[in-house]
C-alpha cells in the first residue's frame, strides 16, 4: 500500500507522537477544577488561580485556610467561617493604611455595630509579615479581634468575633519564663480584668507545637482558662471562661489562619524576562547558523568560480 511507504511513514509517526501531547493538553485544559464546598448554603468561589481544596481562594489572589470543623459561608467577595456563634471574616479593601482597613473590615463583618475604642492595639510580626491587631472586648457583638495587613497598596483584614473567648497575639520583652508568664497574664486579663495576678494551675500539653493551659480565678470565683503558645518572644493566647480546652483549641484556629494567609505574588515581569531571554538565545543561535551558512555559500560560489577558471 502506497500509504505505508517510508516517505509517508515518518511524517505520520511524527504526527502521532506530536498529537499525543496535544490531546493530553486539550483534555487537561477543559477539565473543570474540583472544589469541595463545606457548606451547601454558600459554596466558596474557587478562583481560576488554583485548586487548594482546604483554602478559600479569592479571585484577586489572596488565600486563607478554611478552618476544620467550621461552616464555610464564604462568598465571592469575602471569606467567612462560622461555628457556634463565632465567626471569622477575611476580606480585602482598597485602603492603603491598616486602621482604615480595619474600619472597612468591621463595616462588612459587623455593620452598624459600635465597638468603641480597642482595648489593645499593637503590631504583631508573623512569618507572613506585619499585622496590626485591634482587640475589642465585651462589646455588644462579643469579643472582636481584627488583624490588618497592607501589601502593595491593598489591605487585607481578618475579623474574629467570638461570644466566649478572646484571641490575643502579644510580644513579650524577652523569652525568659517570668516575662512570658507575666505577658500571658496581661493577655488573659484583657478577657477578664478581674483574674488574679498568678495562674492557679499551669499545664504544659504534650503537643506539637507545645501548648500551655493556664487556669485563673476571677473575682467571682469563676475559672478563666488561657491556651497559649510561645514562638520565641511572641505569645499566641486564647482565653475563655471555660474549662473546655478543646473549645479553646477550636478558637485558636484563627492563629493558623493568620499564619497560613498568603497572597499570590505578582511575578509576571520575571516570566516575560525569562521567556524573552530564552527566545533571544534561540534566535542568536539560529541567526549565527544562518550567517555562517550564508557566508559559506558565498565562499563556495567564489571558490567554484576560481576552480573553473
Amino acid at each position: 500500500m502506497r500509504i505505508l511507504n517510508l516517505k509517508n511513514l515518518i511524517p505520520l509517526t511524527l504526527a502521532l507522537i506530536f498529537a499525543f501531547p496535544f490531546a493530553l493538553a486539550a483534555q487537561e485544559a477543559t477539565d473543570e477544577p474540583t472544589a469541595e464546598a463545606t457548606s451547601e448554603a454558600a459554596a466558596p468561589t474557587v478562583s481560576e488561580l488554583s485548586i487548594f481544596d482546604d483554602f478559600y481562594n479569592h479571585a484577586s489572589g489572596w488565600h486563607v485556610r478554611i478552618p476544620e470543623g467550621w461552616t464555610d459561608e464564604s462568598t465571592a467577595e469575602y471569606a467567612r467561617f462560622t461555628r457556634e456563634g463565632d465567626a471569622i471574616t477575611v476580606l480585602h479593601a482598597t485602603a492603603t493604611e491598616a486602621n482604615a482597613a480595619i474600619d472597612a473590615a468591621l463595616a462588612v463583618a459587623l455593620p452598624n455595630v459600635d465597638l468603641g475604642d480597642p482595648a489593645l492595639t499593637n503590631v504583631v510580626n508573623l512569618l507572613n509579615g506585619e499585622w496590626t491587631q485591634h482587640l475589642f472586648t465585651n462589646t455588644s457583638a462579643g469579643n472582636v479581634a481584627v488583624y490588618a495587613q497592607v501589601f502593595e497598596n491593598v489591605s487585607y483584614a481578618v475579623v474574629s468575633v467570638s461570644e466566649d473567648s478572646l484571641p490575643v497575639i502579644i510580644a513579650a520583652e524577652n523569652t525568659e519564663a517570668d516575662t512570658l508568664t507575666n505577658t500571658l497574664q496581661i493577655a488573659a486579663a484583657l478577657y477578664d480584668p478581674t483574674i488574679g495576678a498568678q495562674a492557679v494551675d499551669v499545664t504544659t500539653l504534650n503537643t506539637t507545637p507545645v501548648y500551655t493551659v493556664s487556669t485563673y480565678e476571677n473575682e467571682a470565683g469563676e475559672t478563666v482558662t488561657s491556651l497559649s503558645r510561645a514562638r520565641t518572644a511572641t505569645l499566641y493566647v486564647v482565653t475563655g471562661a471555660t474549662t473546655d480546652v478543646d473549645a479553646l483549641f477550636q478558637d485558636s484556629v484563627l492563629f493558623s489562619m493568620l499564619s497560613d494567609f498568603f497572597i499570590t505574588p505578582q511575578t509576571a515581569f520575571y516570566l516575560y524576562l525569562g521567556v524573552g531571554l530564552s527566545f533571544a538565545i534561540l534566535l542568536i543561535l539560529i541567526a549565527s547558523m544562518y550567517v555562517r551558512y550564508r557566508n559559506l555559500r558565498q565562499d563556495e560560489a567564489s571558490l567554484r568560480e576560481l576552480e573553473n577558471e
Partner: protein, 260 residues
C-alpha cells in the same frame, strides 16, 4: 546504510533524490517545530493555570525543565558522535558531536537563564551557590570549553579525536547536574520529578510545587517537554550538521583550488 562519504563529493550528490527527500523532511520538521514551540508557549502561558504560591513566574517551568531535557538529548548526540567517530573515524560522526554541543549549549543556557529569572522572586536572588546551580554552570563552561579548545587545534584529525574524547567525558557533568539535587540534602533547588533522598526532611528545597495543584500544569509540562526534548534539538542539530557538512565541503574545495 550509506558508507562514509568524503565531504568534497557530497556536492556531487546534492541533486540526488535522497538529499532532496531529506531536505523536505527537515523543512517539514522545521515548520512543525516552529508551530509546536508557539503552541507549547501558548499552552504554557495562557492555558495552564497560575500557581497560587509563585504567581506567573512558575510558568517558566515549562521552558526551564524541557530546555534541560533538550540539552541532555543534544549532549547525548555528542557522546554518540564521539564514540562512533573513535570507532569508525568517519567525519559525519564528528559533525554530529559538534552539532550536539552547540545546540545543547544554547539549550543549557536557556535552562540557566530561566532558572535565574525564576529564582529572583522565589529565592530573592538571581544566583546563589546552590549545588545544582554550580553543577549546571560547570556543565555549561565545560561544553563552552569544548568549542574553544576545538577551534584551537589546527590538525583536523587531532581536533576530531580530542573533541570526541572530550565530548564523551564532558557528559559526566550532565549526569552530575541531574543527580545532584537527588543526593545533596542541602540543595534548595526544587525536585518536581523523580526520586530524592529517602529522608525528605533532609531536603532544604524552596519553591516546590505540586504538579496537580494547578489545572493544566501536567499537560503544559508534557507538551513542552515533548517539543523541547524531541523536536527542537532534533531540528537544530540537523540544521547544524548540514552547516558542518557545508563547512567541510568548502574546506575541501579550498584545498583543491589552492592545490591547482
Amino acid at each position: 546504510m550509506s558508507t562514509a562519504v568524503h565531504p568534497a563529493s557530497q556536492s556531487q550528490s546534492e541533486g540526488s533524490g535522497g538529499a532532496t527527500w531529506r531536505s523536505r523532511v527537515l523543512w517539514f520538521l522545521t515548520v512543525i517545530t516552529i508551530i509546536a514551540v508557539i503552541y507549547g508557549l501558548y499552552v504554557g502561558l495562557f492555558v495552564a493555570g497560575t500557581d497560587i504560591e509563585q504567581g506567573e513566574v512558575q510558568r517558566l517551568f515549562y521552558l526551564h525543565v524541557p530546555s534541560f531535557s533538550g540539552a541532555t538529548i543534544a549532549f547525548v548526540g555528542t557522546v554518540v558522535g564521539g564514540i562512533a567517530y573513535l570507532i569508525t573515524r568517519n567525519n559525519k560522526w564528528d559533525s554530529l558531536a559538534v552539532a550536539g554541543v552547540e545546540v545543547g549549549l544554547a539549550l543549557a543556557i536557556i535552562n540557566l537563564v530561566t532558572g535565574s529569572a525564576w529564582a529572583r522572586p522565589i529565592w530573592n536572588t538571581w544566583w546563589n551557590w546552590d549545588p545544582r546551580l554550580v553543577s549546571d554552570a560547570i556543565m555549561i563552561l565545560t561544553y563552552a570549553a569544548y568549542l574553544f579548545l576545538r577551534n584551537a587545534i589546527e590538525n583536523p584529525d587531532q581536533r576530531r579525536r580530542f573533541a570526541a574524547v572530550y565530548g564523551i567525558l564532558a557528559f559526566t557533568t550532565v549526569i552530575a547536574t541531574f543527580m545532584i539535587i537527588r543526593i545533596r540534602p542541602d540543595t534548595i533547588h526544587p525536585v518536581v520529578f523523580g526520586p530524592v533522598l529517602t529522608d525528605a526532611s533532609m531536603m532544604a528545597t524552596q519553591g516546590d510545587f505540586e504538579l496537580d495543584a494547578t489545572p493544566g500544569v501536567t499537560a503544559a509540562v508534557g507538551l513542552n517537554s515533548a517539543i523541547w526534548s524531541m523536536l527542537v534539538p532534533l531540528v537544530l542539530v540537523w540544521h547544524r550538521i548540514r552547516l558542518e557538512n557545508l563547512m567541510q565541503r568548502v574546506h575541501a574545495l579550498k584545498i583543491r583550488v589552492l592545490e591547482k
